[in-house]
Symmetry: C2
Subunit: 204 residues, 2 copies
DNA sequence: AGTGTCACTTACATCTATGTAGATATCGTC
DNA sequence: GACGATATCTACATAGATGTAAGTGACACT
C-alpha cells in the first residue's frame, strides 16, 4: 500500500445529514454569527459556508431565510426559557441566597446570547417570538413567591416588581453592560453585586 | 386672471436645500425609521423617498450609506448626551428628588429612541460611537456626587453604582420594558417607580 | 444488488441596496 | 439678466441575498 493509495480515502462528495441534524448544525452557526457579528451577519450563504452546505440547501430545510431566522429565535428563546426554569428549580430546591438567584437570571441572559437575541427581536418588532418566555417569567414569579412570601396581599406586587427589576438589569447588563462598566471604571461583576444587594428589599 | 392661470403657480421641479438642512431632514426621517421599523429599514431609498430626494443625493450628502448611519448614530448619541446633561443640570439646580432624576434618565433613553439606538450600536459592534456618552455619564456621576455626597471614601463607589444601576434599568426599560411589563401585568410606570424607590439606598 | 426517497448541488433568475458618471436645474452673486 | 457653484437628477453598473427548477447521489430498505 503506497502513500499515494492512502491519500484516496473515499471522501464522499456530499455528506447526507438527517434533517434534524442539519437544522441543528445550521442553528448553532447562526447563533454564533448573531452573537459575534450581529443580526445582519446571518445570511444563508454565511451559515451555509460554515457548515459546508449551499444556501439553497438551507432554504430546503428552513423554507426561506425568514424561516431560518424564526427557527433561530425560537431555539434561542427556548434556551432562555429553559435557563429561567433552571433558575426556578434551583430556587425551589435549596439555595435561596439572593446572589444565587441573580446569577441564575444574569446567566440566562448572558449565556448563548439571549440578551442580544431579545434586543434583536425587540428592534425588529417580532415580539410574538418572545411569547414562550412569558410562561417562564410567570413561573419565576411563582417560585419566588413560594420561597420568600411571608404573607399579606402586597406580596404578589412585590414579587413581580422584583422579577421586573432583575430582568431589566440582567438584560441591560448583557447588552450594554460591558461598555457601560468601562465608562464607570467598574469591574465585570458590578451589575450582579448591585442587584443582589438590592434584592432583599423586595423579598423581606 | 383666469382660474387656469392660477393653476400655473411656478412649482420648481427640484427643491434646492442648504446642505445642512438636507442632512437634517434626512436624519430626522432616518431616526423615525430606526424607531418604528428597526435598523434594517434605514436604506438610502427609504430615507430619500420620505424627503423627496433620490438615493444618489443622499450619497452626495453623506458620502455613503455607512456615512448616513454614522451621522445618525452621532446625532442620536449627541441627543442622549444632551439629555443626560440636562438631567445633571436639573440635579445641580434644585429638585433633588430621586424620582426627578430617574425620570430624567429614563426619558433620556426613551425619547428619541436612544435606547433602541444603543441596542443597535451594541449589536452591530460599532461601540466607538458610544464614546461621546462617556463624558455625559461621568458628568452625571460628578453631579450626583456634589449633590448627595456627605463624605467618606466609599462615596464615589456608591455613586458609580447608582449610575450603573439607573442606566441599566433605563436602557432595559426602553428596549424590552413594554413586553416585559405586559408579561408581568404591570403598568407603564412600574420600572421608574421601582428604580426611584431603590435609589435612596445608594445615596443616603 | 436493486430501488426509491430526499438531502444536496448546480445553474439560473430576481430583487434590492449601493455606488458612479455625467447631465441638469436652482440659487446666490455680480 | 448673466454666471458660477453645486444640489439634484437620470441612467447605468455592480454585488449580494434570496429564491426556483432540475438534476445527482447518499443511504435505508428490500
Amino acid at each position: 500500500m503506497s502513500i499515494r493509495d492512502e491519500a484516496v480515502v473515499e471522501i464522499p462528495k456530499r455528506r447526507r445529514r438527517a434533517p434534524d441534524e442539519a437544522r441543528r448544525e445550521a442553528l448553532v452557526v447562526a447563533r454564533r454569527l448573531l452573537i459575534e457579528s450581529g443580526p445582519t451577519a446571518i445570511t444563508l450563504k454565511a451559515v451555509g459556508d460554515k457548515i459546508g452546505v449551499t444556501h439553497a440547501n438551507l432554504i430546503h430545510h428552513f423554507g426561506s431565510a425568514a424561516g431560518l431566522q424564526s427557527a433561530l429565535m425560537e431555539s434561542m428563546v427556548r434556551d432562555l426559557a429553559d435557563a429561567l426554569d433552571a433558575a426556578v428549580n434551583q430556587l425551589r430546591s435549596d439555595a435561596g441566597a439572593p446572589r444565587a438567584l441573580v446569577d441564575a437570571v444574569f446567566d440566562a441572559f448572558d449565556r448563548g446570547g439571549a440578551g442580544r437575541l431579545a434586543a434583536w427581536i425587540a428592534l425588529s418588532g417580532d415580539l410574538q417570538h418572545l411569547e414562550p418566555v412569558r410562561a417562564a417569567v410567570q413561573d419565576l414569579v411563582k417560585a419566588i413567591d413560594e420561597k420568600f412570601s411571608a404573607e399579606g396581599e402586597q406580596t404578589h406586587n412585590r414579587i413581580t416588581s422584583a422579577v421586573l427589576f432583575i430582568a431589566l438589569c440582567a438584560f441591560g447588563d448583557a447588552v450594554i453592560g460591558a461598555p457601560l462598566r468601562d465608562m464607570l471604571d467598574r469591574d465585570e461583576d458590578s451589575g450582579r453585586k448591585i442587584v443582589a444587594r438590592l434584592l432583599p428589599s423586595f423579598l423581606l
